[in-house]
């Protein structure tokens, strides 16, 4: 099953996004990597690396990001793990987490899920 790492500047925001996905896709490997080691705001290379180590499988990992440095830090982690299948999804954080985990529990591959997640950003709420 494809796993997810939620990268946010805020520890609480990342944990809450993880919590929210349990509503519809309980059992998908998903883990938060929010904030810095000391709990302050920011994105941590070490924290994201550890999160990936914890849930990595051959099916791959999708990283969901909030904004700004989350993207750059995640990119650098991916470059440091060149032999693994890890991708960043280009989508809104909350919607992407819900839709992605449902796709994952339904057995979709990492590329199928990424394609679906790319579409989500273009769906308007109103």
């Amino acid at each position: 099953m494809v796993g997810f790492v939620v990268v946010s500047h805020s520890h609480n925001l990342a944990e809450s996004v993880v919590e929210l996905t349990r509503m519809m896709a309980d059992g998908v490997p998903i883990i938060g990597a929010g904030g810095l080691e000391d709990g302050s705001f920011g994105t941590s290379f070490d924290k994201i690396s550890r999160a990936i180590d914890k849930i990595y499988s051959e099916d791959g990992i999708i990283i969901l990001v909030d904004m700004g440095s989350a993207v750059m830090t995640a990119e650098m982690v991916i470059e440091s793990m060149a032999d693994r299948t890890i991708k960043i999804a280009d989508c809104p954080l909350v919607e992407g987490a819900i839709a992605g985990t449902i796709d994952s529990i339904s057995g979709l591959s990492i590329n199928e899920i990424l394609d679906n997640l790319t579409e989500i950003g273009s769906i308007k709420k109103l």
């Binding site: 810095l36 920011g42 994105t43 440095s69």
Partner: protein, 207 residues
């Protein structure tokens, strides 16, 4: 020529100036960003300081690369990946060298600029560190062609970086958190361009 020992001295100098300017950098960032640039940079350079004992006797490329990795792993804001990439790219150019000259420095700076542009998907004129880095690089190269004097070239680089910081006051931020402010970002200097200038000045003061 600058040898490995002098490079470590320059790095210690960088650590000192970043600590001295920590509050100033955070204050700048408070106005148009999230107010943590000084704290983040200081956290990163504290980590570099921890790595220094293990770097005695290592080639200059390894020293600079290790500094970059420390920044990536500890800084926490956008400056972590950006400065981290800059140092790691520069370290790649200087790999295996036990002494470097101004041309090596230019090549390393060029590679650092390319790395920052790629990492940040950015270019000059977007109110970022690149608005200090690129003019500084150009000024150093120009002065070397004219006078072939490394000290003068570094001074020209610092002067150009400072002009770059002034230029960032006049333009709208289109990258990073400050871009959400749009026109309200005008009138304020970019913290990243400022910290680069502070670091370049620290290097120049040791040449």
């Amino acid at each position: 020529m600058v040898n490995q020992e002098q490079v470590l001295k320059i790095i210690r100098k960088m650590i000192t100036v970043i600590r001295e300017q920590k509050d100033f950098l955070s204050d700048l960032d408070n106005v148009i960003g999230d107010g943590d640039h000084g704290i983040n940079m200081a956290r990163g350079f504290d980590e570099i300081e921890k790595k220094i004992p293990a770097l005695e006797g290592k080639d200059i490329g390894t020293v600079i690369k290790t500094a970059g990795m420390a920044l990536v792993s500890k800084v926490g804001g956008a400056s972590g990946p950006l400065y981290g990439t800059a140092f790691m790219k520069a370290g790649g150019v200087l790999a295996g060298k036990s002494q470097i000259d101004i041309y090596d420095f230019c090549n390393a700076l060029q590679s650092a600029i390319d790395g920052v542009m790629l990492r940040g998907k950015s270019t000059t004129g977007e109110k970022t560190m690149l608005d200090a880095m690129v003019p500084a690089y150009q000024a150093i190269k120009r002065e070397m062609e004219e006078s072939n004097d490394a000290k003068k070239a570094m001074e020209a680089g610092v002067a150009a970086a400072k002009e770059g910081v002034e230029y960032t006051k006049k333009i709208i931020a289109t990258k990073g958190r400050a871009s959400y402010l749009g026109e309200r970002s005008i009138g304020h200097q970019d913290p990243g361009a400022t910290s680069f200038t502070i670091l370049l000045e620290a290097i120049a003061s040791m040449i």
